[in-house]
Each structure stands twice: as structure tokens, then as C-alpha cells.
């Protein structure tokens, strides 16, 4: 028996929820970033799974989108980490509980 699309989706959902858990519950900015990256990976997994289980198209759309998504995630990670460093320099902390300058 080979795995169906369903189980892939379940795994992806689990990965996504774990990422969300990380992003929601940690204080450290880097953790939040990791959580977000994890959610993105889960999304990519979905793309690939859907591509694999659906009738083939030319060009392979799902794969393409996953590639672009990874590229964008990389860019996001770079900028996000740079922001963390900049914030750290300024406030001497990366604890997001203390970063509430935008509080209305």
C-alpha cells in the first residue's frame, strides 16, 4: 500500500501546526522566524504533494511554485535575521514581548 495524498496533507498540517506553535509561544524572535520557516516548508510540502497526485501538466506548476516559494522564503529569512540583529543592536534584546513600539 502506498501513501495517499491524504496522509501527506495530514503530515503537512501537523508540520504547519508545529510551526505555528513555535511562532506563537516563544519569546525569542529567532524562534518565531524558525516557526514561520517551518510553516512555509509545510506549505511547500503541500504544493509538491498536490503536484504529484494530480494529472500531469506541462510545465510542472506545483514544482515551479515550490521553487519560487523557497527562494522567497530564503530572502525573507535573510531580511528577518538582519532585522533581528538590527533590533538587538538597538534594544539589546530579541525578546518580542519587549518590542511593542507599534502599540496603539
Amino acid at each position: 500500500m502506498t501513501p495517499t495524498l491524504q496522509v501527506f496533507l495530514i503530515v503537512s498540517a501537523a508540520l504547519f501546526s508545529t510551526g505555528l506553535l513555535g511562532a506563537l509561544s516563544r519569546r525569542h524572535a529567532i524562534f518565531i522566524l524558525i516557526g514561520i520557516e517551518m510553516m512555509l516548508a509545510a506549505a511547500n510540502l503541500n504544493f509538491i504533494a498536490f503536484w504529484r497526485f494530480s494529472p500531469q501538466s506541462q510545465p510542472p506548476t506545483g514544482v515551479m511554485i515550490a521553487i519560487f516559494s523557497i527562494a522567497i522564503a530564503a530572502a525573507e529569512a535573510a531580511v528577518g535575521l538582519a532585522l533581528v540583529i538590527a533590533v538587538y543592536r538597538h534594544y539589546r534584546t530579541t525578546n518580542v514581548d519587549h518590542l511593542d513600539q507599534l502599540k496603539g
Binding site: T4, G22, S25, I30, P59, P60, M64
Partner: protein, 160 residues
Amino acid sequence: MSSAAFVLIAMVTLAAALAAATLQKLMHATLSFAVALVGVAAFFFLLGAEFVGLVLVFVYIGAVAVLIVFTILLTRRDVGKDRGANWGGALLAVAVFGGLAWAVFKTQSVAIGAPHIRALTVKRIGEALMTSYVWPLQCVGLLLTAALIGALVLVMEEKR
């Protein structure tokens, strides 16, 4: 595509992900995160998207994870133990998972096996990138450049 491989990979991936989300030490969490990504890459291989899997490994483990480590080292003074998972976040995460899982199970059309497909060669991907996806490719290139410059500007020391 074998079930055994799938179960194995899934267990490793999810365990690593959970560790990444809950471990108190930042460094440990980062390493777990890398492991989880390897798991995801393995899924990609399993699904026949080897190229994407490789890209994921290169980009994430080769670049992002390293970047995270560097960042941890750069902000070392602040880096120590973080609190673990808290109840509100866990509750929400579980709720979201429950919702998603319910939706997945509910949807009949996804309970299908994998069809037989033509192997996805790098050549095909390359052709697609250079023909129908040439504009998005250029845009991503521009985006990456901008992100590069932006990150540089952000971390540059302010002039005194």
C-alpha cells in the same frame, strides 16, 4: 513510494519539528529545525521532486540554518533559555491542526493514490524556468538582490 519509508520520514520530521518548537535551548532548537527540513526534503524525494528537495537542502540547511546559527552567535548575550510551549499557543496550534485534519479527512477527492508520472528531469524544470516562468524568475532574482542589499543595509553599523 513505500509506506515504510513514508512512516519513517514522517516520524523523524514531526519529532524534529516538535523539538524545534519546544526545546528551550536555542541552539538545540536550530539543529532540530535543520533535521526537520532534511525530513521535508526527504518527502520531496519520495514524491519524485528530487530537484526541489535538493534545493531545499541547499537553501535551508546550507544557508538559512547557518544564518540562524550566526545570528544566534551574534546576539549571544541575549541567547539563553527560552520558555517552552505555553498553553494558549498549544491550544491554538492543536485547534488549527484539528481543523485542518478534519478538512482533509472530510474531503473525499484527496484520498487517492499517486498516478504514474513521467520523471521530472532538471532539464524540464530548466526549460520551464526559461520559457513560461522567465518573468517570475527575473522578479525573484530582483527580489533576492533587494533582500541582499536590504539585509546588508540593516545590519551595517551606524556611523558614529
